[in-house]
């Protein structure tokens, strides 16, 4: 019994660790995007940066794309309080987005536009603060 319980706890620990390693992914017809916020958990009124990772649906990194980040609160009909910008291409489809800030709690949407040689995609990431 004790052995079984240990096994159960161990498997639970492994699955939890594993879960936190997998970033959530949002997709459009042709690409997928995940992000990591430098501010954890995301709190209002604090400027911070995100690292976003852009891949095609079959997992190839999207490099050197023109990436624009906008967003807002659909229910309030207003945008972000800042104009975030991609400040660095980090390679392997990863981009640093600086100037992120949210000024209210509630339902937000982050819209990421990705353009590159025939690729013109928009991915929307919902976020509740």
């Amino acid at each position: 019994m004790k052995y079984l319980l240990t096994l159960l706890l161990l498997s639970l620990t492994i699955s939890l660790t594993h879960a936190s390693d997998i970033a959530e992914v949002w997709t459009s017809k042709r690409i997928q995007i995940s992000y990591q916020s430098a501010l954890q958990p995301i709190a209002i009124n604090k400027m911070h940066h995100w690292i976003i990772e852009i891949k095609t649906l079959d997992g190839l990194a999207v490099e050197d794309a023109n990436v624009q980040v906008t967003g807002g609160m659909p229910a309030h009909n207003h945008g972000l309080p800042t104009s975030p910008q991609v400040t660095e291409h980090l390679g392997e489809g990863r981009y640093r987005v600086e100037g992120m800030r949210f000024h209210m709690n509630g339902q937000w949407e982050i819209r990421i536009s990705v353009k590159r040689d025939g690729l013109d995609e928009l991915v929307t990431i919902p976020l509740v603060l």
Binding site: N45, N77, H78, P81, S83
Partner: protein, 405 residues
């Protein structure tokens, strides 16, 4: 009937219940959650005590105006939470907008209703040269410093520029409205202009070193949040109901969030245009102005070395039309009338305005009608009064200091 009255009285005296989510929101509004005073990297003497004392003298010294009768403290009065209780500020003339409080300003990335300044020190310079406020010019002020504060200035900033050559440094000069002073300024060497600008910026930095010490003190609301979970609940039923509305269906917390009850951002809430005036453009003009400001964070006079995230990521675009900076709610007592042009005489007028959420004259009103009852508006008002508290600074900072003669 008697039992009904007793039941009602018991209900009134019962503390409201607060869910874990509500308690979390309340804690986020408490001064206990206020982070320590943020550094101002654009002002290297921001936390220098000598600079704060010099700044306090400048703040109260009416000689620092072209008519010798106006100082910062004329409009930013300590007994009125560093505002003035007027519809619009009155200095040499009447100003364009309602005087905002200085208290807690160090926490905001932007100054003025429209955020046209990005530091307390660059803001403090503007009234000195505004014809309706202190009405002078930078050469005039630096000569006053040379007459009354030379050693004080030099102990903090090093040598004051030698202004004895009036061909190089006219008695009156600055990039101001006055045509003579302006042409004097334009005739000066660029290097001399920069020397003057640097010394003039130092006056702003001393003023900011003083102003950033003016912070809100703990209020009845903060005590209430700290008392949650104990037996001594210090809010009455009306105040508790108002607080419930504030964080709930009245939506106040959307913009009035955080321990200073402001998100420091810009919103259009459809406040009526002041009588006989065109609608105020607000932040859409402010963001242009701050980007062009000669004393902004990117300027050579800031001690920032080009690290200006707020300016770099400042939002622009038509959404900013008619938006104004959210004011703190911690300075409401004695600071009426309210709104950017002092359009609304009392707090209940402000609450009625948000209850109706009228269509904006320009831009769009982000607020929606609340449909609250008159009782609910009174409850909100009762809660707002619990945010009144003395300023958290020792008395010596709240009165005019000795001024050198």
């Amino acid at each position: 009937m008697t039992s009904l009255i007793i039941w009602f009285a018991v209900q009134l005296s019962q503390p409201a219940t607060w869910s874990p989510e509500e308690r979390q929101l309340l804690a986020s509004l408490s001064l206990s959650s206020l982070q320590k005073l943020p550094a101002d990297p654009s002002n290297h003497i921001a936390d220098d005590l000598r600079a704060a004392k010099f700044g306090q003298q400048l703040f109260f010294d009416t000689r620092f105006s072209i008519n010798g009768a106006v100082a910062c403290a004329t409009c930013h009065q300590p007994e009125r939470r560093f505002a003035d209780g007027l519809i619009r500020g009155v200095a040499i003339g009447q100003t364009d907008r309602n005087t905002p409080s200085v208290v807690g300003g160090a926490y905001s990335p932007w100054q003025y209703w429209d955020g046209r300044k990005d530091s307390q020190w660059s803001q403090a310079l503007a009234p000195l040269e505004h014809p309706m406020e202190q009405g002078g010019n930078r050469l005039y002020y630096l000569r006053l410093v040379a007459s009354f504060y030379k050693s004080t200035y030099e102990a903090i900033f090093g040598a004051l520029p030698d202004l004895s050559d009036t061909n190089r440094f006219p008695l009156h000069a600055g990039p101001v409205d006055n045509a003579d002073w302006r042409s004097n300024w334009l005739a000066m060497d660029t290097a001399d202009q920069q020397t003057i600008n640097r010394a003039f910026a130092n006056l702003g930095k001393a003023l900011a070193a003083y102003e950033r010490r003016l912070l809100p003190g703990p209020s009845k609301f903060d005590d209430f949040v700290d008392s949650l979970g104990t037996k001594s609940v210090i809010f009455n039923a009306e105040e508790q109901a108002g607080l419930k509305l504030f964080i709930g269906k009245a939506n106040c917390i959307q913009c009035h969030n955080g321990p200073l009850l402001t998100n420091h951002e810009f919103h259009n809430t459809g406040v009526e245009t002041a009588p006989s005036e065109l609608p105020d453009k607000g932040r859409i003009q402010g963001v242009r102005d701050v980007n062009l400001d000669e004393f902004n964070c990117r300027s050579t006079y800031a001690d920032t070395a080009g690290h200006c995230a707020e300016l770099q990521f400042a939002r622009t675009g038509p959404e900013l039309i008619g938006t104004m900076r959210t004011p703190s709610l911690r300075n409401l007592k004695n600071t009426e009338p309210y709104m950017h042009k002092g359009q609304l005489p009392t707090l209940i007028d402000v609450l009625r305005h948000y209850n109706e959420a009228p269509t904006a004259i320009i831009g769009h009103n982000e607020a929606k009608p609340l449909n609250l009852t008159l009782t609910e508006l009174s409850q909100l008002e009762a809660f707002l009064h619990t945010l009144d508290a003395p300023i958290a600074a020792e008395d010596e900072w709240l009165t005019q200091p000795d001024l050198p003669q």
